[in-house]
Amino acid sequence: MRSQAAPRSGHPRSVAASRPPLQRIGIDVGGTNTDAVLLEDARVVHAVKTPTTPDVTTGVATALRALLDEARAAARRNRRSEKRQEERSRVVPRLRPPVERGGLADPAPIDAVMIGTTHFTNAVVQRRDLTRVAAIRIGLPAAASLEPFVDWPEDLAAMVRGEIVMLEGGHEYDGRPIAPLDAAGIRAAARRIRQAGLTSIGIASVFSPLNASCEDEAAAILAEECPDAAVTRSHQLGRIGLLERENATLLNAALVDLARRTTRAFTDALAASGIRAPVYLTQNDGTVMLAPVAEMFPVYSFASGPTNSMRGAAFLSKLADALVVDVGGTTTDIGSLRHGFPREANNVVEIGGVRTLFRMPDLLSLGLGGGSLVRQAPLGVGPVSVGYRLTERSRVFGGDDLTATDVAVAAGLIDLGDKKRVASLPAALVRDALARIHATIGEGVDRMKTDARDEPLIAVGGGCFLVPERIAGVSKVVHVEHQAVANAVGAAIAQVSGEVDQIFQNLSRDEAIARARGLAEAQAVRAGADPRTLTLVEVEDLPLAYLPGNSLRVRVRVVGEIGAAADAGRRGRPRLTR
């Protein structure tokens, strides 16, 4: 264990003299690009961008190889400069302490690898790679008329729906059982499920976020009867609201096979690159889970792409409260940072047409990006985009399509490709198209603003040159280094979280929040957080109308730096090998 206390902030530990700097790799596997960055404590030392491959693994391996090649080259350069410095230091006093760790020929060992991916969301949206699941609902005679999958789009339900089992059990809001758990019914159902050849099961019991015993007992019986099946229990995923929680559970169950394969692909790619650090997957809320845990909860990675990009923007700009505009090739995402985390959408979030209650960032997506097509007469920009084919189809890159990037090059906002190819564009067209782009972004920013005061705005993404320098309601537009790989940076800096959403009775508000905080902290530590670094990032309390006994629903979220697991990895002396 490290001896010094880490700073209680959203940023990684500052460099301490008593230990080597923390080396973290962040990888973002997007639909178009796989980005990777190497962070040394709070400093981005290397960044690479490579195309995403259909098998994921190849792209990740390529990105890692490129990153490590850069790191090795830099290490060699360092060694030469250290030598020169040592030669100089024989005659002049040393100005800075020498690098402590040996092995100057090698880059430093990696402490942790954090991967963010949109793979699982895409599987649901595109209706591919899904596993058929058995749904077990526990709560009869309550919740009887609306069976599992009841509000799913029919095409998706037809792909995922296996057995449906509804049994007695579950709890009241005050902890009393609705009916005794029908254990015999679960055993019989388990045998049917095994005979049907189903290997993934989702269980949802009424009020399980308050009392999980029915789900746990059912899972124990399933483990005996269907030892090879993966079981998702709804209380592990969350909040009050049976249908939405069950939907999340069933989506998760439908994705566990894919998640397992994908996670293995990641770990294989890392092993092939000679990295033996612990691997984490980033979640919707900007925190991480260890890969072996994360592969059991793919739904938690649904929105990790935009979250990572916003967290990366916060980190690179050192702003904790700001608006973020991420301009990609096809879309622009606008979000709002509070305390270094994206503001969450609190309402029902639909994934591929399924209602869920996930922790998702509140985002506004506009059909505008660097690859957006510019139409003339009448003037229009986007939403159609050349996407990843920007470097062949846009004018500055030798193509015939007029894109937002061409307009920006013509206006002198950025120097890309061959600017002579856009020199003949009419000045009025360039001016009007740019004005249209700026107005679209400005309106979007205004819609996402929740503070009447002017706020700073961080512009990131490959197309961030499209963001105007002056926007109403914005105090300043901040551009940052490494803006094109903000998402991978966001992955690299992700922390571990714990969250509790529970009803408390007969406690004062302060007592209830303290109780919830304790539970959330214990959860975070179990997930790998260093207990000394835990901070409270969110408290929400909602008194419940009608319920007796001063009932209060409390939601608390804590985050902390990666702790024990990363330390354990370090003890195992993971090294870059070659």
């Binding site: 309550a142 009841v150 009393r176 609190n346 509140d362 419940l544 319920l547 007796p548």
Partner: protein
């Protein structure tokens, strides 16, 4: 016959949207009731809507509502069987069959409860309710304003539990007795309120409110399809008033005496930029202040709608940063009488304000 017409599945969808708007922040989301209706319709059910004027003076009418905490409903879901059971138990108690069923409150999920019962019992649904919106308390109905009898009441849960409250000394006692039982069975129960005669419904109910809710939902859906502003469409179609448009800056909630009370503060957008609005609620929105001065009070309907989709926003789902519009819709005339205002005016909610309708109708 136009007086007893089948209700199409699409109309139930519209009813859910319109009822949630008429809920004025309370009444609970109609979503789960709507899912039940979709299922019942897939199984072949077709509900019939009855013109209240077609009721014979002596026809007995069942008045139903779901009672309990919306949050419990989110876990236990809603089920058509207990509400049907509450009705048949009342029939057994009275020794008479009901001619039709109607809703206690058209605002929120209770708008759909009579349809759920009707689908199982093959009874027509009367095009009426007794609130014209949603209200938090039992005596806040047009039947109570008209001093009709508040008993008997039947209450059923999803198990085989059922209770009859044969008599109650007052509306308050009826509320206390039934609330106690409701909490005991898990804070969610189906109730059949004091039965009404056709004459009472025709004279004391708020008529054609079901049709109004369906029309409201149709208006929102049509505007969305045409990419028009649904909020403006609602205001125009229902002769309402747009009171404010803005973003929610702050929400404070607390539970007192079993109600969800609180306030929400809004910052103006568009034509309201630079101005502020504050809403106070007790389950439903009760009072609104524009720049610190009272702008609207109950019983005028204070509806908070998502500025983009036109969907209603409930007091339990208000959250920081939402972009919403505050719209006033006219209240049923019975609520504006001196007697009506005693039951549902601002003072009934503890606000020392005289009711002045935003629609220019002066109250008592």
């Amino acid at each position: 016959m136009a007086s007893l017409r089948p209700v199409a599945a699409a109309e139930i969808e519209s009813l859910a949207i319109g009822a949630w708007i008429l809920g004025t922040g309370g009444g609970g989301s109609p979503y789960l009731a709507l899912l039940n209706m979709r299922k019942l319709y897939r199984q072949g059910a077709v509900c019939r809507l009855m013109d209240p004027m077609e009721l014979g003076d002596d026809d007995p009418v069942a008045v139903v509502s779901n009672m309990g905490a919306p949050l419990v409903g989110q876990e236990r879901l809603t089920d058509p069987r207990p509400v049907a059971r509450a009705i048949t138990m009342m029939e057994e108690y009275l020794g008479r069959r009901f001619r039709a069923v109607m809703s206690l409150e058209i605002g929120g999920g209770n708008a759909i409860q009579p349809f759920m019962a009707a689908a199982l019992l093959d009874l027509p649904v009367v095009d009426a309710d007794c609130m014209g919106r949603a209200f938090p308390e039992a005596q806040m109905t047009s039947f109570a304003i008209h001093d009709l009898c508040m008993y008997p009441l039947t209450l059923a849960d999803v198990r085989d539990n059922a209770v009859i409250v044969a008599r109650a000394a007052s509306w308050k006692w009826m509320e206390r007795l039934s609330r106690k039982v409701c909490v005991e069975v898990g804070s969610i129960a189906s109730t059949c309120k004091a039965p009404r005669t056709g004459k009472e419904v025709k004279e004391c109910a708020i008529l054609y409110s079901t049709t109004k809710a369906i029309r409201l939902g149709d208006t929102v859906l049509a505007a969305r399809r045409a990419h028009h502003d649904p909020v403006r469409a609602v205001v125009e179609a229902e002769r309402g008033l747009l009171l404010f448009k803005g973003k929610i800056r702050d929400v404070a909630r607390r539970t007192t005496e079993g109600f969800l009370r609180g306030t929400a503060k809004l910052d103006g957008l568009d034509e309201f930029r630079g101005r502020g609005f504050e809403l106070a609620f007790q389950n439903e929105f009760a009072v609104g202040w524009l720049d610190g001065a009272p702008r609207v009070t109950t019983p005028d309907l204070i509806c908070v709608l998502d500025s983009i989709s036109g969907e209603a926003v409930g007091t339990e789902t208000l959250r920081y940063g939402q972009r919403v519009s505050v719209v006033a819709l006219p209240a049923p005339p019975v609520l504006l009488t001196p007697k009506g205002l005693e039951h549902v005016g601002p003072r009934a909610f503890g606000y020392d304000l005289d009711f002045v309708s935003v629609f220019g109708l002066k109250g008592a």
